[in-house]
């Protein structure tokens, strides 16, 4: 392990412990770590956008002969007019372009790639030769989808049959929330395990190289 690697490990360990210290109570070391992280992230993003967008996608190809790239370049610059109350209306040209393109792309991808495949998967045969278990699951899927959709139907008061179905929908939603919560706990614990793994294996492991 080189000196630079050890230094890197110690810096990571310092910031990990500094952020963990918030669990006891708010303190200046935590604040320092938090501000350094915010500053680094902002700086990194600016550098990255400059390099991967302005240079790589606009400036370099334009210098290389793709002069039409000046159009998106100008549209991008127009966005900065929002800082002026007098000329902020000009930025609407760029915004209109962004909104048009985005809705066009998303309409196709969401409809073709998400809504239709998911709907198709809901319209499954209740008896498909997979046995009683498969049929039961298919029924649960259909009942779950319909009752949840009815819960979100607000044009009629939820009374009578509509109210009962909506209540079934709430149960399905609650079960889904429970599953999400369980997975979220697992995810957050995993993150802690990751940091502990680093502290025990890498940081404590580096002691042997120093002392």
């Amino acid at each position: 392990m080189t000196a630079v690697e050890i230094l890197q490990i110690w810096i990571i360990a310092f910031f990990t412990l500094a952020l963990f210290s918030f669990m006891y109570k708010d303190n200046p070391v935590y604040k320092v770590a938090e501000h350094i992280f915010a500053g680094l992230t902002a700086g990194y993003q600016v550098g990255l956008i400059w390099d991967t967008i302005i240079l790589q996608q606009v400036w370099d190809p334009m210098i290389g002969g793709k002069y039409y790239l000046i159009i998106p370049g100008i549209l991008g610059c127009l966005m900065f007019t929002r800082f002026s109350s007098r000329f902020s209306w000009v930025s609407r040209v760029s915004l209109a372009f962004v909104m048009g393109v985005t809705s066009g792309i998303f309409l196709i991808s969401q409809l073709h790639g998400l809504v239709l495949p998911q709907m198709r998967d809901t319209m499954i045969p209740l008896v498909d030769g997979g046995g009683f278990g498969a049929s039961l699951l298919a029924v649960i899927v259909v009942v779950g989808v319909l009752s949840t959709l009815i819960y979100f139907y607000f044009s009629k008061e939820h009374t009578g049959a509509l109210g009962v179905t909506a209540k079934v929908g709430i149960w399905f939603i609650m079960i889904a929330f429970g599953a999400h919560f369980g997975y979220t706990v697992m995810g957050r614990v995993s993150l802690l395990i990751g940091r502990m793994q680093f502290l025990v294996e890498d940081w404590v492991g580096s002691f042997a190289h120093i002392f």
């Binding site: 669990m23 006891y24 992230t41 990194y44 993003q45 990255l48 956008i49 991967t52 967008i53 790589q56 996608q57 985005t102 792309i105 998303f106 196709i108 991808s109 969401q110 073709h112 790639g113 998400l114 495949p117 998911q118 198709r120 998967d121 889904a176 599953a179 999400h180 997975y183 979220t184 706990v185 697992m186 995810g187 614990v189 995993s190 993150l191 802690l192 395990i193 990751g194 940091r195 502990m196 793994q197 025990v200 294996e201």
Partner: protein, 277 residues
């Protein structure tokens, strides 16, 4: 003040301490819990097995460094499996913070282990801003979106990329994500270009993607550290996720106990106060 009132009012720092100890102890005294294989992980393994040997595949590093504990074991497992099958791997990322460098780290260390060479057996395209445009654009030409790799070498100078124009030459995609980019891989690349795809997602994201597996948009799914541990088990590689599952199981037991205790405290404490009145 009754015992249950005390339970209800316990300082949260005691809970942090208990969770911390439960995580720490298995690293000092390893705790082994059985890991069962879910159908989704098995399907993912089978899907990778079905990829013809020597094909070109993509491994996408769409996760931030904060979720490295869940996602990196999946990336390592993906490299193990693909390199064992002599597949050529193209890596890329739609995540600016860390994605390209994590791809670089994992691919270089795995390549060293399997004796693979950069540019011939694997390439890291790095990061490009605007994932919708990137994913759509690569369907026409990968080189138009990534004229150079992560370290600035033009794709024309990398032998692996000689025969790769767009998704048509990519046999399989393994997306590893801690965010919504997996939706776009399914809705743009899988739906519009028909590339077979699997997903390794953080536990927080995983419940959403079960529907994608059911609809056949993803051929398999790994959910969080547990999913990664299942895959390590299927590969016969005991690594970070399997080791971490000991701590994971202990903390889950603790949390279940605390939830039961908290609920008992709430109901019995209320009954105690009512009786007292």
């Amino acid at each position: 003040m009754s015992f249950w009132d005390k339970v209800e009012g316990i300082d949260r720092r005691w809970i942090y301490l208990m969770v911390g100890l439960m995580v720490l102890i298995p690293f000092i005294f390893p705790a082994k819990f059985p890991i069962s294989i879910t159908p989704e992980a098995q399907s993912l393994f089978d899907a990778v097995e079905a990829v013809p040997d020597g094909s070109t595949v993509m491994v996408v590093f769409d996760y931030y460094p904060s979720t490295i504990a869940e996602c990196e074991p999946m990336a390592v497992a993906a490299f193990h499996h693909f390199f064992r099958k002599n597949c050529k791997i193209i890596t890329l990322s739609n995540i600016p913070l860390g994605g390209p460098s994590m791809a670089e780290m994992v691919s270089r260390s795995m390549a060293e282990q399997y004796g693979k060479e950069y540019g011939i057996d694997f390439v890291n395209l790095g990061y490009k801003y605007g994932y919708v445009a990137v994913l759509s654009g690569m369907g026409v030409s990968i080189e138009s979106i990534f004229p150079a790799d992560n370290s600035g070498t033009p794709l024309s100078e990398l032998p692996l990329m000689d025969s790769i124009v767009n998704y048509e030459q990519v046999a399989f995609i393994w997306e590893i994500a801690d965010n919504a980019t997996a939706d776009y891989w399914a809705s743009i690349v899988n739906a519009q270009y028909g590339v077979p795809m699997v997903c390794g997602a953080t536990a927080v994201m995983a419940p959403k993607f079960y529907a994608f597996v059911a609809a056949g948009q993803f051929l398999g799914l790994l959910g969080g550290m547990k999913g990664a541990a299942e895959y390590e088990l299927l590969l016969g590689e005991t690594a970070a996720a399997t080791v971490g599952m000991g701590a994971q199981s202990l903390v889950h037991l603790l949390i279940i106990g605390l939830v039961i205790l908290g609920n008992l405290g709430f109901f019995l404490g209320r009954r105690y106060r009512e009786k007292k009145r």
